[in-house]
Symmetry: C2
Subunit: 190 residues, 2 copies
């Protein structure tokens, strides 16, 4: 692993636990076992690090879902469905700590820093476009309703999923995912 | 306004802006123009204040929606619908700063403090029960589908709404509400 990725990986873990604002650079450097000088070789300052971290979170998320979308043993719509099922499973195994780093940072940093807000919005737009692409594919294959706006569905699924994660966190239960699954895949898209 | 409410009101404004963890008691007391001694007459400590604040947020939210539910000029389902429309309107007018205090605290404090998590969960349970009651009423009146589980719908609406608020915050746009409105009231419940 290169030094930059080492710093981002260590930072990602801490920021997911305690948020960005209260994460000190010193603890990120200690966790990554990197001297201060190396940090400033890769990042201008803490803000710049945070903006790179958003990309890192998004890339990790997309890499893990890409694998699921390539699983040819499942019908396309079931691949989409299992993206959320697997996340719910992992969230449950981790006792519902953390959650969606993008959603958490949106709530924490949206009002505090306009560069973060803009970056988070860009990342969400990319995620919605990708999801809309997957929904369009499932629609072509006749696996979801034909009379439904794919882009609006993608936006709505992201909203519903982010809120479901929030509820799972305070309930410490998978039930909001089960309801999300039933409403989106059992009702809305069918 | 009594002293306790004065403290809660001043605290609510600050906490909605910057979160609970980073809110200092000194700034709450300064904003409420209250000496420290008065604070400790009403609250054991900052945590106790935070737990009361969650109730205060919930009561304010419920008071504002109760008014809408009494509006006899609207069909019952349109009253439910306009609860979200009005919140979206207010959020837009405030440049999408703040958002849902319950959702924000769930993200911020859910992992940090188990008393907060439990309290937030209780408040969300109450909100879902009330919403389910309103949906049941609309169902009796024939204004929504009969073959739909009202409790699951209430849970799902809360998820979708919390996520829509998150997206509105980073997009600085009402479009996630418009999509929420169309998907919930135009498709799911109809």
């Amino acid at each position: 692993m290169d030094v930059k990725t080492k710093i981002l990986k260590a930072g990602a873990k801490i920021v997911l636990e305690k948020g960005f604002f209260d994460t000190g650079l010193a603890e990120v450097l200690a966790a990554a076992k990197i001297p201060k000088g190396s940090f400033y070789f890769y990042f201008k300052n803490k803000e710049d690090f945070g903006l790179h971290l958003i990309d890192y979170f998004a890339e990790r998320l997309m890499a893990s879902t890409s694998k699921i979308y390539r699983d040819e043993s499942l019908p396309y719509i079931e691949r989409i469905r299992s993206v959320y099922g697997r996340q719910a499973e992992a969230f449950s195994k981790g006792d519902y700590k953390g959650g969606c780093p993008i959603g958490n940072l949106a709530i924490e940093m949206g009002d505090r820093n306009d560069r973060f807000r803009t970056k988070l919005n860009q990342v969400l737009e990319t995620m919605k476009k990708r999801l809309a692409g997957h929904l369009a594919r499932a629609q072509e294959l006749g696996q979801i309703k034909t009379r439904i706006d794919i882009n609006q569905c993608a936006n709505f699924i992201i909203s519903s999923w982010e809120g479901a994660l929030m509820q799972m966190k305070v309930q410490k239960s998978k039930s909001p995912h089960e309801i999300f699954d039933k409403m989106i895949f059992g009702q809305l898209l069918r």
